[in-house]
Symmetry: C2
Subunit: 149 residues, 2 copies
């Protein structure tokens, strides 16, 4: 299991694959983001997105699942304080397979809580054609190895 | 229906209420963010969050639903390019009722596409005790009234 000390600057972790299904795109949209271009093929063709596309927030949730499976669940993660930015670069379509890379930009111990470190992580997701669909940076709280022991 | 021209600087729109259920918290976490403090009461009590809490990405999805119901579905929205930041200020717990405010920070026409305007929107979510649980800023694409006619 990775602890804070393992999240060293420059560490790169591969994410994915994540298969995007039409059913999942429509179910997420129906619950959280029922804009027509996330629900209906015809409406989507007439929109800026040019075809049925996942909600950007759904793509964020897919990213979280990819991070969870690649490194978060097998770490001392304590969650995070937020997200520095998310860029939705291209539409994510049903049938896409997503891959990604998480890269540790920097890491430091908390000034207030010596048992916790903060890792700043940059994440990029690509589709099967190698096109970048999402870029994001966020901070992850992690227990130190000693605190987790 | 609101078009780009209606998103004038200073416009404030009330969001919510949104009832957060334990079932929804656990279902979202199981699908997208299966960290123990989003799934299990006992594990959550032992974590930094101090009790079962929604995934931050789930709170973002709740925010999207609140925005959809308050103004996005009844607008010329064409989605958005991303998110400037999200701050998860406090845990969101099962049983919480969320309220919020969306405020237009600025609005301008696209330089490239004269049929599209960009509205920068600040969003704050609060729980039933009036505590801020989330702050975020993002940009929304909207058709102009003429383009939507």
């Amino acid at each position: 299991m990775r602890a804070f000390e393992d999240f060293t600057e420059g560490l790169e972790i591969a994410l994915g694959p994540y298969e995007v299904t039409k059913q999942e795109v429509i179910e997420f949209a129906a619950e959280f983001d029922p804009q027509p271009f996330h629900l209906d093929e015809e409406a989507a063709k007439a929109s800026m997105l040019g075809g049925l596309s996942a909600s950007g927030w759904h793509t964020c949730a897919m990213m979280m699942r990819m991070m969870a499976d690649a490194y978060v669940l097998d770490s001392t993660s304590q969650g995070g304080p937020g997200v520095d930015f998310v860029k939705w670069m291209r539409p994510v379509r049903p049938g896409d397979t997503l891959y990604g890379t998480a890269c540790v930009l920097s890491a430091r111990l908390s000034a207030k809580r010596p048992t916790i470190g903060l890792a700043r992580i940059s994440t990029t997701l690509r589709n099967g054609r190698g096109e970048t669909v999402l870029e994001s940076e966020h901070t992850l709280f992690l227990l130190t190895r000693e605190a987790a022991a």
